[in-house]
């Protein structure tokens, strides 16, 4: 997929877009290390932990795990139990990918996205913020991560399904 010689198909370009975005969000974990260390220093060194930092920790964590979902789809690193399926012909494996996306994952993602959007909307209407007086404002922003990251998740699964369809119905871009 990432060999430089081949001309990228539109699918590859989209995949790369998601990978690039993932590589940026990935730094949330690096930032998380710094925030935790800062908080520890303040708490133990100066006896004065900050609520803001504490909340920032789970904001970063939440951001990373939710957007990671689509990254892992593109990387094809979601764990599979492949003891038996290894022996399936490649065609069968692609059919599983297509049917699974159509009947399981895409409906699931649409349902979560709709509910997630409601969840965000509730928070947005009430301009929800942290209950702690010194906490972070904009609680709706982190809640918006759920529907947005699920749209990403759904899109990458759709792209994967398209790849499998291309493979099944004869197109050289379908190979992976």
């Amino acid at each position: 997929m990432e060999s430089p010689k081949k001309i990228d198909s539109p699918l590859d370009r989209l995949d790369n877009l998601f990978l690039g975005f993932g590589r940026i969000i990935a730094w949330a974990n690096g930032l998380l290390i710094l925030v935790i260390v800062l908080q520890v220093t303040l708490r133990y060194g100066f006896n004065n932990g900050l609520v803001v930092l504490e909340e920032l920790e789970w904001h970063l964590f939440g951001l990373a795990i939710m957007f990671g979902l689509s990254y892992a789809v593109v990387k094809n690193s979601h764990i599979r139990v492949d003891l038996i399926s290894n022996r399936f012909p490649e065609k069968v494996r692609h059919w599983i990918e297509v049917l699974g996306a159509l009947f399981l994952m895409l409906p699931f993602i649409v349902a979560v996205t709709i509910h997630g959007y409601q969840f965000f909307l509730d928070s947005w209407i009430h301009s929800e913020r942290s209950v702690a007086p010194l906490g972070l404002p904009w609680r709706w922003a982190i809640k918006a991560v759920i529907p947005i990251s699920f749209v990403f998740f759904g899109t990458t699964i759709f792209l994967r399904m398209t790849r499998s369809l291309l493979f099944l119905f004869g197109n050289r871009h379908g190979n992976q």
């Binding site: 590589r23 935790i36 990671g68 699974g100 699931f108 409601q118 969840f119 759920i146």
Partner: protein, 461 residues
């Protein structure tokens, strides 16, 4: 049985069938959850069941996902993963390997013991069964084979040392299990120390005795130096930084100075310093570690989110009550029920990693275990001692399961990284003695819960 019960069974069966199709585990869980929301809805309409499942009920998954995002304890998971990957990249494992070998070079089986030692020390931080076995195998199998070790011995050692790593703290598995059953992760870490050391001790004794009785399976290194004070000093100098590192991370948790999350963040930073100290650190290493941390975290939490949805719908169908009813109606008595649960966990371990098992099975059986009439002494210090004891038993059972032919996880990962001249049957033969030792260890924990509970009670008491 009522229609509800059949639906619960159908849900489990579809999940397992989907799993075997090679569709990603996280998707199988998530997909079954939406599928059975639909099935539950229609069965309410046409079959007269009262599951209450519909599109709105399914909406409850969103607050649950949000609760995962705000989960304080789970923040430590990416931190420990970062720490493990960074330690791996810093070349500490190789360094330890070389130095420990100098020390144990004169002992028969010394190299195998070194591997065991490194497995315990380092695999602890990677947590994922595949990752620890692969890492350990890559650095140690070539060395052992080069020295003329019999291949079954070499393979058995790596597989068992790698799986031992998932038990020994800081183990991600214990973080997730503790979070699921809402017990203190600190208690669990401490509880795992003695059982882990017991298993390591059994392994080492076995290796020593076996290599003494059959010297040809483990030849000594031809170029070994005699142990002088100089060598000893050199070894100590090399071992101290990583040892200090591991002990300070664990120590701050054990002594209650820091929370698990705080210790994990500081540990991640210290791992980075260690890599700088060994001159293995640069920006591209950092980038690589950051990206793999992101990736590993993503697939763990993919399964976690899938399992959350699965559990929600299963509860809607009445799965919790069904499992409880089934377990309590077993005619085995209290220990029998525990043995039965462990047996099921053992079987599941053949095709599921610990993540799925701790997320799906543990919450289902936990109420039954809490209600059993087995007096587990928490010394008045440890809260919910029977749950701590139970979790450690499950952990050791899983570990055994990962080692057990024909389909143990560790065995396949090991096969994947060894030269083609090594057959799966060599690996199978190699792990048999270790499985027996595992079962001995498990039996000891079942019979003597104090093995788990004494240390947390002693430290916190």
């Amino acid at each position: 049985m009522e229609i509800n019960d059949y639906l619960v069974i159908a849900m489990f069966v579809s999940f397992i069938a989907l799993l075997l199709s090679g569709y990603p585990v996280a998707y199988c869980l998530a997909g079954t959850s939406i599928l059975f929301t639909g099935i539950g809805y229609f069965s309410d309409q046409y079959l007269g069941t009262i599951t209450g499942l519909d599109f709105n009920y399914f909406g409850l998954v969103v607050p649950r996902i949000f609760k995962t995002m705000t989960n304080w304890v789970l923040i430590s998971v990416p931190m420990f993963i970062f720490m493990g990957l960074m330690l791996d990249k810093s070349g500490i494992a190789e360094r330890l390997m070389v130095s420990a070998q100098e020390l144990f070079g004169k002992v028969r089986g010394g190299l195998a013991i070194t591997v065991m030692f490194i497995g315990v020390l380092l695999a602890a931080s990677t947590g994922i069964i595949g990752a620890s076995v692969v890492m350990l195998g890559l650095i140690s199998i070539p060395a052992m084979l080069k020295q003329g070790y019999h291949k079954t011995l070499a393979l058995g050692t790596v597989a068992s040392a790698g799986t031992l790593g998932i038990l020994i703290p800081p183990s991600i598995m214990l973080v997730v299990m503790g979070d699921q059953l809402s017990v203190s992760v600190g208690d669990l870490f401490l509880g795992a120390v003695l059982p882990g050391l017991l298993l390591a001790f059994l392994y080492v004794v076995y290796l020593l005795v076996y290599c003494y009785l059959k010297p040809d399976v483990a030849p000594l290194a031809p170029d070994r130096r005699p142990i002088t004070w100089g060598v000893l000093f050199e070894v100590i100098k090399r071992v101290i930084p990583p040892l200090f590192f591991i002990l300070s991370v664990l120590g701050s948790i054990f002594t209650g100075i820091a929370t698990v999350t705080e210790a994990s963040g500081v540990g991640a930073l210290m791992a980075m310093f260690l890599a700088i100290f060994y001159k293995k650190f640069n920006f591209s290493v950092l980038k690589e570690v950051i990206c793999s941390t992101y990736n590993t975290t993503a697939y763990i939490f993919g399964i976690l989110i899938g399992a959350t949805c699965f559990a929600l719908v299963l509860r809607g169908l009445g799965g919790d009550e069904l499992v409880e009813r089934l377990l309590t109606s077993l005619p085995f008595g209290d220990y029998g029920i525990i043995a039965f649960i462990l047996f099921i966990v053992f079987l599941l371990g053949f095709f599921l990693d610990w993540i799925e098992i701790s997320l799906i099975v543990l919450p289902l059986v936990a109420p039954v275990v809490s209600a059993l009439d087995i007096a587990v002494n928490g010394y008045g210090v440890v809260s919910r001692p029977e749950v701590i004891w139970f979790i450690i038993m499950v952990a050791v059972t899983l570990q055994t399961s990962f080692l057990t032919p024909p389909v143990g996880f560790a065995l396949f990962y090991l096969k994947g990284i060894t030269p083609p001249s090594i057959n799966l049957s060599d690996i199978y033969k190699g792990v048999v003695p270790f499985i027996i030792l595992q079962l001995l260890g498990l039996l000891a924990i079942i019979l003597f819960p104090q093995l788990v509970l004494w240390l947390p009670a002693f430290i916190y008491g």
